[in-house]
């Protein structure tokens, strides 16, 4: 991936990520989030992690964000008019944010930068290599995760299912009322 494209996409991802928290309309925030996910997916694809990139689009941008859209619709979230919440919450929030920024600065500041960037061989992120890893080295973890997800699906259905309501006494119909 040429550097200018990398920088452009990276900048776009950061701008859209800022849009998620700056916009007041929840739908606009959601669109910014989708845009962030898509740009990061393209970055993945450009860096040879093809499957991860496409799965990010299919799963996150294509499915989970639609769920978010439904939640926003069904809860009827309105445009936020201004900052809300308790003063103590705001104070703690600011403190936590400041701590996080400090931590990030110390981890990523050049003298502490311990990460060595290495270039993986071509085809590292292809479906064949990913599937090979999943079904050999990580087979047990993969299968256990799938059973866990299945259990979560069944559990959520069991929670969402309405219990059968006890038979109600049949109400006398209007005609019968009048007749009596």
């Amino acid at each position: 991936m040429p550097p200018f494209l990398y920088i452009f996409l990276g900048a776009l991802a950061i701008v859209s990520a800022l849009g998620v928290i700056i916009q007041r309309n929840p739908i606009h925030s959601l669109l910014s989030l989708i845009s962030t996910l898509l740009t990061i997916a393209i970055l993945f694809i450009g860096e040879d992690a093809v499957v991860v990139g496409f799965l990010q689009i299919i799963v996150y941008a294509g499915a989970i964000m639609v769920l978010f859209l439904f939640v926003i619709w069904l809860l009827n979230l309105q445009v936020e008019t201004g900052p809300t919440g308790h003063l103590a919450l705001k104070a703690f929030g600011s403190l936590a944010a400041a701590l996080l920024v400090t931590e990030l600065f110390f981890v990523l500041a050049p003298p502490h930068l311990q990460v060595k960037f290495t270039r993986e061989p071509v085809g590292y992120g292809s479906l064949a290599s990913l599937a090979g890893k999943l079904f050999t080295d990580y087979l047990v973890a993969f299968e256990v995760t799938s059973v866990l997800l299945l259990a979560a699906v069944v559990g959520s259905i069991a929670l969402a299912r309405r219990l059968p309501v006890a038979e109600e006494q049949p109400q006398p119909r209007v005609v019968e009322k009048i007749a009596s």
Partner: protein
């Protein structure tokens, strides 16, 4: 390198133009074909200075439907209702059209040809993860429709948008399962390789097309794809007798034309996908690299260039035939009720798709891949 880039650009533009022209053909078929089916005359008014009439030709409504109507729509007032989210209202039609248009580029429309020493594959983008790309772009199509419904500030539009969203994400699952069983059969995600895998014959006469290996997946993809493209009998999001025009009630002029174009383009895309996965793509029955090997043992030599051209023609013929078939279905069946739609999607198509994946896996383990 430069030549490959130029060739790639030309092929991408060709594919998008093919999609647009097929949409136009579908629009024509929608108007005049439906008139034929319903024993009406259909549009036959517009001529260019009465030229056809002077030459004594019947007016087939071609100028009506393909030139006059689009020009009329694009010159009408573009109205944004009060209280609508103006930015999203404008963005939504393009968000709906864009994913469909970029999906056309992975469809292979011919075999590799050599021109002046350069080998050029007749597909705009030969992606190794082509099927994943398809699923990704088709999954993004839901946003345009959903946001159109939401941003219009209209209850009919919102209801249509919610219906469309629920319908599209429900049927995506069945669609994905159908595509998964095809991928398992051919052992590759590359669409060009899937088409190559459908060359040759069985028992000396039956072409090795995907439809004979995966008949259930063909039906699943046909039904789920028709539901994805939101046409009758799955036009619940638009259903004009209940929701005026559903999610694009508040659209007029060019933007409404873009929504209609999206529906037609989705139908054209579905025809191309069915052709690629199940009808052998550009494969001509009994045509090998050197010529026709007819079932009776007869052989007819065909020059190499003619074989390539025949392949492209075969692809187009199959796609247009499927487009006409989809149009016939659209004018034959009545609309489903919403509960029927959901029951069909979740209780019939998804279990059948899972069963088909399971059976395919068993068959591959038991007898190996068909090669």
């Amino acid at each position: 390198m430069t030549i490959e880039l130029i060739a790639g650009a030309i092929k991408a533009i060709l594919m998008i133009l093919l999609g647009l022209n097929l949409s136009l053909f579908l629009l024509y078929f929608e108007r005049k074909g439906s008139a034929l089916i319903q024993d009406r005359i259909g549009s036959n008014r517009v001529t260019i200075t009465g030229l056809g009439k002077r030459l004594g030709m019947p007016n087939l409504g071609i100028i009506n439907t393909t030139i006059a109507d689009p020009v009329k729509m694009f010159t009408k007032e573009d109205f944004v209702p009060a209280g609508a989210d103006k930015f999203l209202h404008t963005l939504a039609p393009f968000l709906a059209l864009f994913p469909v248009m970029i999906t056309f580029v992975v469809i292979p429309f011919g075999d590799t040809i050599s021109i002046a020493g350069h080998r050029i594959g007749l597909e705009a983008a030969n992606l190794n993860a082509g099927a994943l790309y398809l699923l990704a772009t088709i999954g993004l199509g839901v946003y345009g429709v959903a946001l159109a419904g939401w941003s219009s500030n209209n209850r009919w539009a919102l209801l249509g948008g919610i219906r469309a969203t629920a319908q599209m994400i429900s049927y995506e699952l069945a669609m994905g399962l159908a595509i998964v069983s095809v991928i398992m059969t051919f052992g590759t995600l590359n669409l060009q390789e899937i088409v190559r895998g459908q060359g040759g014959v069985w028992f000396g006469f039956l072409p090795r097309w995907g439809i004979f290996m995966q008949p259930l997946a063909f039906i699943l993809l046909l039904v789920a794809g028709a539901a994805e493209s939101k046409r009758i009998p799955f036009d619940l999001p638009e259903s004009d007798s209940e929701l005026i025009q559903g999610y694009f009630t508040e659209y007029s002029g060019g933007k409404q034309a873009v929504f209609m174009l999206t529906d037609f383009a989705e139908q054209a895309l579905l025809a191309m996908l069915l052709t690629t996965f199940f009808l052998g793509g550009w494969q001509v029955p009994w045509l090998m690299h050197d010529g026709f090997h007819l079932p009776g043992g007869a052989f007819l030599a065909v020059p190499a260039l003619a074989v390539s051209i025949l392949g492209v023609v075969a692809f187009l013929v199959k796609v247009v035939a499927l487009c006409i078939f989809l149009g016939l279905v659209r004018w034959t069946l009545p609309r489903f009720r919403y509960d029927q739609l959901m029951r069909l999607g979740w209780k019939a198509l998804v279990p059948l798709g899972l069963l088909n994946v399971l059976l395919t896996a068993f068959a591959i383990v038991a007898i190996g891949r068909v090669q």
